[in-house]
Symmetry: C2
Subunit: 342 residues, 2 copies
């Protein structure tokens, strides 16, 4: 049964992919076994992280992008695309995905498109453990593009930057031009910037603001880190030919509802992949991502191991003393890890 399923996943059988994603999302023993077997078949997909605040029209843009990649203009074959839409944590209900059915309607029935929503459960290490696994399932199943879509600004974006080869940050007019944008630090993780809803009158202002920010020193740190003049890379990472082509972060405009600008966005996403492959950035991002996944898994395993240790039996007692402020959190942890010493 398990071997059969693996073969089915590798051949891209939608039902097998769907079942595997569920096992991985729920972190079952079977899911971990699947990932163990699928992992050697991963590493081929182009991972694209797409993130933006609520109200930027991000989901609509992702749908338009999927449609474009499925039906390229010049008669070339469409690529197989998987989408993992990470919904913000919903700690109590496990995530409301009311929008999910709505957005899938016009892509339903295409066997080469797979869209799955997942709740990032607010667990520590949330996005990087189960989402990484879900991406690996789609990668092994032969989806050539895997889009990971997140809402908001904050930790999720950083995780996306680690996870994806290409990080796309979506803005919209009226959001992109105030002080908050600077605070959000989004420019540091973006490989491509997109102003969606570009038919709104203040769109050009949002574009100009983003362009100005890109020219500020210190804002495009990621780019400098990877290719810029001040980059400090380990010797072995430096290419012998000296001057690497530098990736200029473009500020693109789209109107997701009409499809305007979507072809250009798709072309730039492809161009970024080629850039990464030519400069060694692909391999470097691969390493960063896998290291991040290893760290998250390791952390979880260490906690699980502790939970089955004798010290864990003191947990409730320690917590009660903590709530009553009889001990401090620092001493509570000492006690839980080493046993009581006082």
């Amino acid at each position: 049964m398990s071997d059969l399923l693996i073969e089915d996943v590798l051949s891209g059988n939608p039902l097998a992919v769907s079942r595997s994603l569920t096992e991985v999302e729920n972190d079952t023993a079977h899911g971990r076994q699947l990932l163990d077997q699928l992992f050697p078949h991963t590493g081929k997909a182009h991972l694209i992280g797409i993130t933006g605040a609520p109200g930027t029209g991000k989901s609509t843009l992702v749908n338009a992008l999927v449609r474009h990649f499925r039906r390229p203009p010049e008669g070339s074959p469409g690529r197989r695309i998987g989408v993992i839409a990470v919904d913000p944590s919903s700690p109590f209900s496990g995530g409301a995905v009311l929008g999910d059915r709505i957005r899938m309607q016009d892509l339903a029935g295409d066997p080469d498109v797979f869209i799955r929503s997942t709740a990032s459960r607010g667990a520590l290490g949330g996005i990087s453990s189960t989402t990484s696994g879900m991406v690996e399932v789609l990668d092994a199943a032969g989806y050539e593009l895997v889009i990971v879509e997140t809402v908001g600004a904050g930790q999720a974006e950083v995780e996306i930057a680690r996870l994806a080869h290409t990080a796309v940050v979506i803005e919209a007019p009226g959001l992109g031009d105030d002080i908050q944008t600077i605070k959000a630090g989004i420019l540091e993780i973006a490989d491509l910037l997109v102003v969606n809803k570009a038919d709104r009158p203040d769109a050009h202002r949002a574009v100009r603001t983003l362009q100005n920010m890109l020219e500020l020193p210190g804002t495009s740190a990621r780019d400098r880190l990877h290719h810029g003049p001040g980059a400090v890379l380990p010797e072995e990472e430096q290419q012998p030919q000296g001057q690497l082509p530098r990736w200029e972060i473009p500020v693109l405009t789209t109107v997701a509802t009409t499809g305007e600008g979507v072809a250009e966005l798709a072309a730039r996403i492809d161009a970024h992949r080629e850039h990464l492959q030519q400069t060694g950035g692909w391999k470097r991002k691969e390493q960063d991502r896998i290291k991040s996944e290893l760290d998250a898994l390791l952390q979880r395993r260490l906690v699980d191991r502790w939970k089955s240790s004798p010290q864990s039996e003191n947990y409730q007692l320690v917590l009660d003393q903590l709530v009553n402020r009889q001990i401090s959190p620092q001493r509570a942890v000492d006690w839980l890890v080493k046993g009581k010493e006082s």
Copy 2:
């Protein structure tokens, strides 16, 4: 020196508070020692989490709220207020807080207001470990209200909900009325909803949309969990008198730039504190928050302990094999935790 500093922190000396916050933020040995000593003096402050997407005017509203609490209308004494503004992760530079100096200008010089920005570094467990500690410093230093402000939607909000007694979610017209809002799941963590920029023409629509959502089944899960008819609480938590007063989540309107609606928002924040104190919710939130902090500290300690174990010496070797797909992440972790068994 250390004892002196503790006394200075407890008496609210701004320089001592500032230095303590820096030690705690940087997670130094001294910082951990300080927290250990300050912890018995915590538990008095009303913790208020305020969150909203970029562009909602959240920082301006927090400033207006601080001014209001400092200068209450009826001649009663102003309360001492601390603000921790959590900036989204900036993985490369450690967090750009360009807006910080701008926002502090009109409150500078008031010794009973303390505003500090901190970058949530994208570390696993980020917000809950250092931010909890920083809140404890302000609590111990006698700040009666401690506001924790976060940008975005996602994990940060969930952490805020755990951390705060009162969770305030800010919306703005044009953001609050699309499908993204439902996806963001913010209604599940809010004790108060605020539509800021309420002088915009479409403000009433945002208010109505939020009100409608509050009436949808399944959206105000937090409220139901705590007080509603479908609540399933442990026996011991159930109040003997049977019918607890239910907290109706209000949808308020403000114009932060003019101060309109700020007094009402402040009054509702106070009303929520009274509600919590009357219903036992205060203690329950306290327990949840402390448990969350303990879990984050424990996790970090377990990782630190592993790092000083002999198994950790295999880390680079295991990572290399993983990147080359010679082993799977699951086997890599097995090896790192238990030693190689194959």
